[in-house]
């Protein structure tokens, strides 16, 4: 996240300079300055390329091969065959559907709950710091640990929730209840994160605007919908973007709660199963690449379709 903010700041810096640039020839000093700029950021850029670019390229290369660790002798280049295999597999699309359902439902619930939580934290008069800290506790707990508590809570004999909600049944052994529990665990875990991002947006809403609206007779709901939300829109979109990308890669909760049984695998679980359990580097890498592409498409849609931008990057240049 800090990288994105850093690039946002950097792009603000360049756009403020942009109007002077035009087509005019750069002065000697300016050129030297620019060269220095490149030199200064070169090490960071090279490290970034080495640690992110290389693995991506390498897994793409693996995805074009038939490569199973158990049959090292049968390794060969097969072009896009792995993609055909994965994209025509019912298991993959089931997992894709499950992931999409988990993503959409959990992010929608998080948005509503996160907004409520953000408003509460924003308005809190006493103990503001305490309220914020307390609300962040779920986000601070290691996901795997939290997932284990959920699992025990929903297992008959070891947990209270299973006996309370469905006496005599075992919710984690059926598909729909399992999915509901996975979504519940996700929502519980990441709502505070959503709330924190939204609270940053709330801080952008000028009090004067709200007061003026109140003077004009707008009700609380009208003020929220007509004033607060539009002003907050960039923050909301950023929060949604981050959470959607995160939710699409859901792994730890499912791994602990069901480990993909009863058709609850997400695409990440399936990639893990094929890669680590199945030792099939070809198919597993293909899945990783497909997940990467999906995440890239989601990000592209958010940025181009809804005009999401990192906070601050658009205003700075235009003013």
């Amino acid at each position: 996240m800090s990288e994105q903010l850093a690039t946002a700041v950097a792009s603000t810096a360049t756009t403020t300079k942009a109007p002077e640039k035009g087509k005019a020839v750069l002065s000697e000093g300016k050129r030297a300055e620019r060269r220095l700029g490149w030199l200064l950021c070169a090490p960071a850029a090279i490290v970034m390329l080495a640690v992110t670019g290389y693995p991506i390229v390498y897994s793409f290369w693996l995805s074009l091969q038939r490569f199973d660790l158990r049959f090292p002798a049968r390794r060969e280049f097969i072009g896009l065959d792995n993609y055909v295999t994965v994209l025509t597999s019912g298991y993959w699309w089931t997992a894709f559907g499950v992931t999409a359902v988990i993503t959409v439902i959990s992010v929608a619930i998080e948005l509503v709950l996160g907004m409520i939580l953000a408003l509460i934290m924003h308005r809190a008069l006493v103990g503001r710091g305490l309220v914020r800290t307390v609300s962040l506790i779920p986000y601070g707990i290691v996901t795997v640990v939290a997932a284990f508590s959920w699992r025990y809570a929903w297992t008959p004999k070891t947990g209270y929730l299973a006996d309370l909600v469905s006496p005599g049944g075992a919710p984690l052994t059926e598909r729909l209840p399992s999915l509901a529990i996975i979504i519940l665990a996700e929502v519980w875990k990441t709502t505070p994160f959503m709330a924190l991002l939204l609270m940053a947006g709330l801080a952008l809403v000028p009090d004067d605007l709200l007061k003026a609206a109140a003077m004009d007779g707008a009700s609380a709901w009208q003020r929220f919908v007509k004033v607060t939300l539009p002003v907050m829109k960039p923050a909301i979109l950023v929060a949604l973007l981050f959470r959607t990308l995160d939710a699409f890669r859901v792994f730890d909760n499912i791994f602990i709660l069901t480990n993909g049984a009863q058709q609850t695998s997400s695409v990440s679980i399936q990639a893990y199963d094929n890669l680590i359990k199945g030792l099939n580097l070809g198919i597993g890498s293909t899945m990783s690449i497909l997940i990467f592409l999906t995440v890239a498409v989601i990000a592209f849609l958010f940025v181009k379709g809804f005009g999401t931008a990192a906070p601050g990057s658009d205003q700075g240049g235009r003013r």
């Binding site: 038939r66 199973d68 660790l69 158990r70 049959f71 090292p72 295999t85 994965v86 597999s89 298991y91 993959w92 075992a170 052994t173 049984a261 695998s265 399936q270 199963d273 094929n274 680590i276 359990k277 199945g278 030792l279 099939n280 198919i283």
Partner: protein, 432 residues
């Protein structure tokens, strides 16, 4: 941190020193286990790292072998996770990276071909092979052999038996159908009647199905492990499994049943028959002594009239890692850990059936292991699960396609299995 506060005010100096002390302490804590770990490697002589699943009293076996080694090497028992998948994942990940820190590996009987084909385990040749082969039962030995070469030493075997209540049924059923009709009769009489098998979507279901296929004289996968067969016997076995799953005497939570849950159900007194590993006997004697008096065992029922059942073999083999730096010592350590003496100790104290035939004849075994004759009888002609490097894939596909067992439609399920299994064997398809 200091760079961020260039003007250190006098009052802060003490604080920063405290910080530094605390940081140093923290670092020491973090580093301590690493230093200790390095230390254990070079404590004079050779350390042989054995990676094996948790087994009660195995540490005692290790110590006995260490005493025998008289300082030439020292075996360290590293416990793998309890679940088979977790054990395999840990070893496979490290072997794929060429980790020299593992010397002797405890392999489930189904993993030998996979590890051998990948070149991760050493062949047992010459004297080592002769030592292992002498006196070892043929069934377990077959699980350690791949393409005619021996890749591991069978440490303990395991085989499922039919457990029944002789207060409900005086004579155990010979066949699967007989068992079902006996149970249905018991149900009509209002007596405990359930038939328990491991039917959850996991390896246990694959073992059960494999037993039924072998008992029906069928094949899931060709003997060389390259082709999905699913012949008439395999279809017949599907039908038997479906019959049980849709019968009124099946456990309502069959599609969720694993070894331990059916053991509990049997101990609760709801069931008449249970198909499970021998560990249930000791547990029954401990938990329900009054029921244990009527808790009897018999060979696995067959699926065809006049043909005895062929039960699938379980158990563990010991292999030597290709990346081990102390192979001669590792072979020797593995041989000691599975010697007749060690196996007898493990059988009596941890309840795991031996792989060396002579151990069964030991007088001490009669008391602790009354079902040893039934085990030995099954081991003479057992079902060995398909021998293929892609076993993990095949098993995942089988357990997925067979779940839930009540949804089996024999011919259609067989066709689907044949197609998906072939992909799995060729490591082509997507694993569920």
């Amino acid at each position: 941190m200091r760079g961020a506060h260039p003007g250190v005010v006098p009052g802060r100096r003490g604080r920063s020193r405290r910080y530094r002390a605390a940081a140093a302490l923290g670092a020491a804590f973090l580093a301590a286990p690493m230093v200790a770990a390095c230390g254990s490697g070079g404590g004079g002589g050779t350390t042989i790292n054995v990676y094996y699943g948790p087994e009660e009293n195995f540490q005692n076996v290790v110590e006995a072998c260490n005493a025998k080694a008289a300082g030439r090497y020292r075996i360290v028992y590293n416990t793998l996770p309890r679940e088979a998948d977790g054990q395999r994942e840990q070893m496979v990940r490290r072997l794929a990276a060429g980790d020299p820190g593992m010397d002797v590996l405890g392999l489930d009987v189904t993993w030998t071909p996979e590890f051998a084909e990948a070149g991760w385990i050493e062949e047992w040749a010459g004297q080592n092979r002769a030592d292992v082969e002498s006196g070892t039962l043929p069934g377990p030995l077959k699980t350690a052999t791949y393409h005619g070469k021996l890749y591991a030493a069978p440490k303990n075997t395991n085989v499922q038996l039919l457990w029944y209540r002789d207060d409900l049924v005086p004579n155990p059923p010979q066949t699967w159908d007989e068992m079902l009709s006996m149970a249905e009769q018991l149900k009509q009489q209002g007596k405990p009647n359930e038939v328990l098998v491991t039917g959850a979507q996991y390896e246990g279901l694959v073992a059960t199905y494999n037993t039924l296929v072998a008992s029906s004289g069928g094949h899931i996968i060709s003997d060389d492990g390259t082709r999905a067969v699913m012949d008439a016997g395999a279809v017949h076995a599907l039908d038997e499994l479906r019959k049980l799953a849709t019968s009124p005497v099946a456990d309502p939570s069959l599609s969720n049943d694993k070894e331990d849950s059916i053991r509990h159900t049997m101990e609760d007194g709801r069931a008449a028959f249970e198909l499970n590993w021998p560990f249930v006997y000791a547990s029954m004697r401990k938990d329900r002594p009054e029921l244990a008096a009527h808790f009897k065992w018999a060979p696995y029922p067959g699926t065809l009239p006049g043909m005895p059942g062929k039960a699938a073999i379980g158990g563990f083999n010991l292999a030597v890692s290709t990346y081990s730096r102390h192979k001669p010592e590792a072979f020797e350590a593995a041989k000691c850990l599975r010697s007749a003496e060690s196996q007898k100790y493990s059988a009596i104290n941890s309840g795991v059936p031996p792989t060396i035939e002579a151990v069964y004849a030991d007088p001490d075994m009669t008391q602790k292991y009354p079902m040893k004759d039934a085990i030995l009888q099954e081991l003479t002609d057992p079902a060995v699960r398909p021998i293929t490097p892609a076993y993990q894939n095949a098993s995942t596909v089988i357990s997925t396609v067979l779940s839930p067992p009540s949804g089996i439609d024999p011919q259609r399920t067989a066709d689907r299995l044949r197609k998906e299994l072939q992909d799995a064997l060729d490591s082509k398809g997507v694993l569920p």
